[in-house]
Amino acid sequence: MARPKAEQPEQSAPPMVHTGARVRRNEDPRLLRGRGRYVDDIPLEGCVHGAFLRSTVARGRIVALDTTEAEQLPGVLAVYTCENIGGLDREMPLLIPHPCISHGRTQRPLARDDVYYVGQAIAFVVAVDRYVAEDAVSRISVDIEPLPVEVDMERAVDDGAPLVHPDVPGNIAAALVQNCGDADAAFARAEHRTKIRVQVDRSTGAPMECLATAARWDPVSGELVVWDGTQAPIGLRGALASLFELDEDKVRVIAPDVGGGFGPKIHFPYANEVLVPLAAMELGRPVKYIEDRSENFVHMSHERTQIHEIELAATKDGEVIGLRDVFLHDTGAFIPYGIAVAQVASTAIAGPYRIPNIEVEFRCVYTPTVPVTPYRGCGRPQANFALERAMDQLAEELGLDRFEIRRRNLIADDEFPYKREGLIFADGLPVTYDSGQYGAALALLEEELDLPAFRAEQEQARAEGRWLGLGLSFYVEGTGLGPYEGGRVRIHPITGKVYVNTGLTTQGQGHATSMAQLVADQLGVAVDDVIVVEGDTGVFDWGVATFASRAMVVSGSAIHKAAVKARERVLEIAANMLEVDQADIVLENGAATVRGTGTSVPLAAIATVSNPLRYAFNDAAQIATQFAPANKGDGPPLPEESRPGIQTEEYYSPPHATWAYGVHAAIVEVDPVSYDLQVKRYVIVHDCGKMINPMIVEGQIAGGVASGMGGAFYEKLEYEANGNLRNASFMEFLMPYATEVPHMEMHHLETPTPLNPIGAKGAGEAGTIPVAAVIASGIQDALAPEGIGPLWHVPLNPSVLHDAVREARSR
């Protein structure tokens, strides 16, 4: 038997050499050489290709659908409509139910009788290649009788407005009121009230890789293998197993390299995710569907449209004692992902401020548009825009400085954990901020900005007729939602390399590096000797998915726990092999070394010895087979309650979300002729707890700010009154290029969370959240001398600003 632990002097925790360092990424050499493997790169012998016929009418009734000519086109293997997809012709699951969803509606893979938005799939063609498949789509004849539509969310809830679903009164899918404290009492005793109406318009994540699915059915093993550009392979596997009535073990979903996710790829199943597997099973050939960019605009989920009426109750000194927010949330034509976006917005509404009394109410509204599911930020950018614009307005009305009013209301360091009883976050638990140094963050930002210098510069600029302003926004972000993730660590007996698995996927977040850093420190190996494999249900299939800035928090913690256990096992065996106490062993450079001596055994040998195997296929294995020296006692080579090899598996389940936060400021200038925006400085103070790899954290923030810039000034999906999406291409949907994204100055605080063993909070969405408020408040400040009206609607653009100035001057 292995020696009981109690006999061993305590091994102290290993030094953190890699954790916290700016380690270059393990995944890069492959991606830089063009050797990535995205879905469309998977070589599948005999593969055939799918294409969709999509609705060009928003709301309408299909009166005729004729696929004959398409079927007759040489090279076409199948044309699917709702009539010939068997049990798949059903409404897809409503993934996250909630009691407040009174009228939940989800769509069918292919439209039956009715269409509900431009882009909805009506037919799916499979042909020998993509070119022929698209030829065939153009030969399908469809006649759709248009029905009245109302794409304006506010008018959609009016009496008599056209209904998206005839049996859903008022187009209301869900409604929820939440209370924390006593808002009525707070407003009754308020010395000052500020109420504003803000609007955020619709956008899309536009990942560089559109949706993509390939599938192969193996009739011998009865296994369905699906390669899919998803954030949730385990979830998709569950859905496919359910829909096709297969055992989960007979469905393997692989998310290979995925070209960006940003939220929309957490939703499943999209039409392609069920029809490609169906066709592969029916045709007996691999089938692939690669969405094109124009389809991506009208098929993959959108987000953002919300209209908030937010009111603050304050004292004369600017202490905010109450908040009321009533908002409408546009969920598109269906609500497949439940109320996640609205719920996250509603629970983020009080931001970093104490505000003890809150009443927040929302309604989710159906409009005949692409369905809405989370996109980077998931309701937080809207909530932040509402709150921070209201704080600016309150400051102005009270004659207070914008920094000062925030300082007076920030939750103090000694108030954590800070609970908002009654506000239930997306994890089903009350909002509880775990840790932070909000005041220090704001002070650091002020210092970095050098406000006196800016004020002087602004005065000078104004004297010259230039429009220079400063914008500011403070945000919090609930990250790292449960329920759980797992991690497995295994040391390879031959090479000594360490394999790590988890149930997540990566779309560029660098898991293969940051997760490896955690493990490398525990086992004393190089980061590039730790190989992280994820996104494959055939490898690891317990877990949830990559979303909600949760990968490092939840999977990272699980992997850390597994690595700690693996370290214990390595030390136990190495102590037996080296005949010393565990406390005398150092794990470094891929070996266990007796402290202060040159005596060591490599990890590969330890891993080999850990497995009392039979066959001597190499020298190390010969040692193991002959001596089984991992154990010193009597009894079988593999003691009771142990397992061969060094392989550990642990799970982590967070008690509740952990709250990251930050504050951004920008110095902006608006050109008085072109009304173009120039961001002269963009300064960030950010705290996501313990940073495992600051380089990767900064990359996440920078990417987040870029998408925030899009939402602030460029990216807006323009629906026409008839429900047609006017700018469904990269030519017309403006996205920030390198010329539109400012250089970002980043400063970090690291307040560890007490909730998990690595002290990390999430970072994936943080950068996006405050940007619209920063830019709007900066432009408002810049144009203050013109006396323009409030900027409470984003995205802004030069025309809006031009109109605002013209309107002010004509007053």
Binding site: R24, R25, E27, D28, P29, L31, L32, R33, G34, R35, G36, R37, Y38, D40, D41, P43, L73, P74, G75, V128, R130, Y131, V132, G205, A206, P207, M208, E209, D257, V258, G259, G260, G261, F262, D292, R293, Q507, G508, Q509, G510, M695, E698, G699, A702, G703, G704, V705, A706, S707, S729, F730, M731, M735, Y737, A738, T739, V741, H743, M744, G767
Partner: protein, 184 residues
């Protein structure tokens, strides 16, 4: 020599014979007139490093070099390439398999995340530095202007700007050293 025939397997569309050089190797092919260069590279030559992001020439993910100049392979028909020389991301690494200065700089500066736009950026930046060695001295704003033909949704461009500058400096230093050696 690589030989490839692409004929639509189902109709009588004519095919055209083309002869070109791809990554230093001669290629003979018989292709449908409507076949895009991006599809030809990816699905007929197996060079899947070239990615397709928009299929209408805006995002730059599919950028390759045609006769030494950066070009969009999604806006080019394979039949236009008769007699041309094409270089793709697979050809950037050195003969010993080492990363090129541009590739190495992208890694050093965290100039990539999901990696989908990366081959296009690498080809654009490589062409830029081939054409204009003075980029090392350019302002950040100028560098941003010069790389504004490619979209990235992950990085916020900060790492890409830094990588472009680092690569420009590396190449300039190497050139100066080479010139010095020649003159010396």
């Amino acid at each position: 020599m690589t030989s490839s025939t692409y004929r639509s397997p189902v109709n009588d569309d004519p095919t055209l014979d083309i002869s070109l050089v791809v990554n230093g190797r001669p290629v003979e092919a018989s292709v449908s007139p409507r076949l895009l260069l991006s599809d030809f590279l990816r699905h007929h030559l197996g060079l899947t490093g070239t990615h397709v992001g928009c299929e209408h020439g805006v995002c730059g993910a599919c950028t390759v070099h045609i006769d030494g100049r950066a070009a969009r392979s999604c806006l080019t028909l394979a039949v236009q390439l008769d007699g041309a020389t094409v270089r793709t991301v697979e050809d950037l690494e050195g003969p010993d398999g080492s990363l090129s200065p541009v590739q190495a700089a992208f890694r050093d500066c965290h100039g990539l995340q999901c990696g989908f736009c990366t081959p296009g950026f690498l080809m654009s930046v490589t062409a830029l530095l081939d054409e204009d060695p003075d980029v090392a001295d350019a302002s950040d704003a100028e560098i941003r202007e010069r790389i504004a033909g490619n979209l990235c949704r992950c990085t916020g461009y900060q790492g890409i700007v830094a990588a472009t500058r680092q690569a420009a400096e590396t190449l300039r230093d190497a050139k100066e050293q080479a010139d010095g050696t020649t003159q010396g």
